[in-house]
């Protein structure tokens, strides 16, 4: 099964409410995915800085990690702790050195995402508990994507939880299962991409990252995925300024959307949209099979 929620705000005044709105949506999808939950949230950022979201191993002191990275880079590091995750902000010019440090310290930290505005938080557990632990409700931002997981293709682990991120400020959540992910993964590995898990959804994320790296737009990348990815899927994808939805040609996995002057919203079921403000005034529709829906901020 799995549940997906997504929210792309058009009305700036709602930005302080983004996290609260999305966590309400996420919790309605608990029955579809009680194993794990996660959220990618696009919030504040500075163009010359980059945010590394890391999962901190049990027993490691996040404050010590901040000091260690600052000492390695010999420059100050911004740090913000949310439960088991820490967001370290470094100068863009020092990103490669910081990522090298992350690799060296893989006993203490796991890289979850890299982004100028995006942060990803995911954990094993009931969505309500995960949302509470990370404090999603207090987070601000422009758009966000969330997922509740019922595992089919790989183990119930934090690394197997969604969203997956394979490129800066890029995330993907998936409901369904791919049948040719091993072949696609091998192709992408030959192209120089690396994968952190055996998960099929990570391959879909990697495929889109690879397409966009070669100049395709979000819309074009998703359109070509209809030819190259085989299986059942509803994808919701986020980029720094974009939000997109795609269902496979059979449309096995459920999807419902709402659009108003204030927002574009996605839910696996209407229940997820029913908690949004002024939903009665939004246009509610079911996305067509094999059709890319994309919204981008200028």
């Amino acid at each position: 099964m799995c549940g997906i929620v997504g929210l792309f705000l058009k009305n700036k005044e709602l930005q302080p409410e983004l996290g609260a709105m999305l966590s309400r949506m996420l919790v309605t999808m608990s029955a579809r995915g009680p194993d794990s939950a996660g959220v990618a949230i696009y919030g504040a950022g500075e163009p010359d800085k980059v945010k590394l979201t890391l999962r901190v191993a049990d027993g490691t002191d996040p404050a010590q990690l901040e000091g260690e990275l600052a000492a390695t880079l010999a420059s100050p590091v911004g740090a913000c702790v949310h439960s088991s995750h820490i967001v370290l902000t470094v100068a863009r010019s020092r990103e490669a050195e910081a990522l090298d440090w992350v690799k060296r310290r893989d006993d203490a930290v796991q890289l979850v995402s890299v982004g100028s505005t995006m942060e990803i938080y995911k954990e094993v557990g009931l969505p309500e508990r995960v949302a509470h632990a990370f404090g999603f409700a207090a987070m601000h931002g422009t758009h966000a994507v969330g997922h509740t997981r019922m595992a089919t293709e790989s183990a119930v682990t934090t690394a197997g939880a969604h969203p997956f991120s394979t490129g800066e400020d890029q995330c993907l959540v998936h409901n369904g299962s791919l049948s040719n992910h091993n072949a696609v993964r091998r192709t992408l590995q030959r192209e120089g991409m690396t994968f952190a898990t055996q998960n099929d959804s990570e391959v879909a994320a990697g495929y889109l990252t690879w397409r966009m790296k070669h100049g395709a737009s979000l819309r074009e990348s998703l359109t070509s995925s209809l030819d190259d990815l085989d299986g059942f899927f509803t994808f919701v994808v986020g980029t720094r300024n974009g939000f997109a939805v795609l269902r496979d040609p059979i449309a096995c996995k459920p999807a419902v959307m709402a659009e108003s002057d204030d927002y574009v919203a996605f839910g696996s079921e209407y229940r997820a949209l029913s908690v949004l403000p002024n939903i009665a005034k939004a246009r509610v529709f079911e996305p067509e099979p094999a059709t890319v829906y994309a919204w981008e901020r200028p």
Binding site: P254, V256, E269, Y270, R271, V284, E286, P289
Partner: protein
């Protein structure tokens, strides 16, 4: 008039109350408020009552219905009126996929569009869609009529048995073994009957529809295919 607010009363409790109605009940008008996309509302009713549902519903609303008239003042999720036996389910908005799936009788009316697989494996239900229907509709349909005022998506009537499909608009493509057929006077009467029961006999003319059904090549034994057995 029994009125239930689903933000206060659980769906299961409301369904229980509906299931306990005796055949000669005097509580014939039920109102259900704040459905908010909940699943399985009004499933398994077997009493001649009217149920008004004020809002959007989730999966399987009105499933297995016998006798009741259920009106949904909103959209319906997957499998509305699935396996309906008799009575009426009326969706005043759009319906998601598999509307009227495996229905054996009664009438399903959808004022808006229906998504993929509308009337999949229908077994005698009549379905009237005032908008358009999605891909793979009437897949393996066995009996009953699917009447569509708008257009039909890909692979209409794939592997169809003996149901009839009437479409007023454009059909994107026909599925395996589904062909257009000439309408007999009996077919015209059946179509007119569905339009009349759906309350639109004045608005839609029988002669504007084209009829599709089974070529009967797929489900009969054919000696040329002996190698396949």
């Amino acid at each position: 008039m029994p009125t239930h607010d689903l933000n206060v009363t659980a769906v299961r409790a409301v369904n229980d109350a509906l299931h306990k109605l005796p055949p000669d009940t005097n509580e014939t008008l039920w109102q259900i408020d704040n459905p908010e996309g909940r699943h399985a509302i009004g499933v398994g009713i077997d009493a001649p009552v009217d149920v008004e549902i004020n809002g959007h519903v989730g999966y399987y609303c009105g499933g297995m219905n016998k006798q009741a008239s259920i009106r949904i003042h909103g959209n319906a999720g997957t499998g509305v009126a699935e396996n309906m036996m008799s009575g009426l389910v009326h969706v005043m908005g759009d319906a998601s996929q598999s509307a009227g799936a495996t229905g054996c009788g009664g009438l399903l009316v959808i004022d808006g569009d229906a998504a993929a697989r509308c009337g999949i494996s229908m077994k005698g239900i009549d379905i009237l869609v005032k908008g358009s229907i999605g891909a793979m509709s009437a897949f393996m349909a066995q009996a009953g009529s699917l009447v569509v005022l708008g257009n039909a998506g890909d692979a209409l009537g794939d592997s169809i048995y003996e149901a009839s499909i009437f479409v007023r608009g454009h059909v994107k493509s026909l599925g395996a073994d589904c062909i257009e057929k000439p309408m007999t006077s009996e077919d015209r009467d059946r179509l007119a009957d569905v339009l009349r029961r759906g309350g639109i006999d004045g608005e839609a003319k029988v002669e504007d529809f084209r009829m599709y059904g089974s070529a009967r090549q797929l489900y009969h034994f054919h000696v040329d295919n002996i190698e396949s057995y």
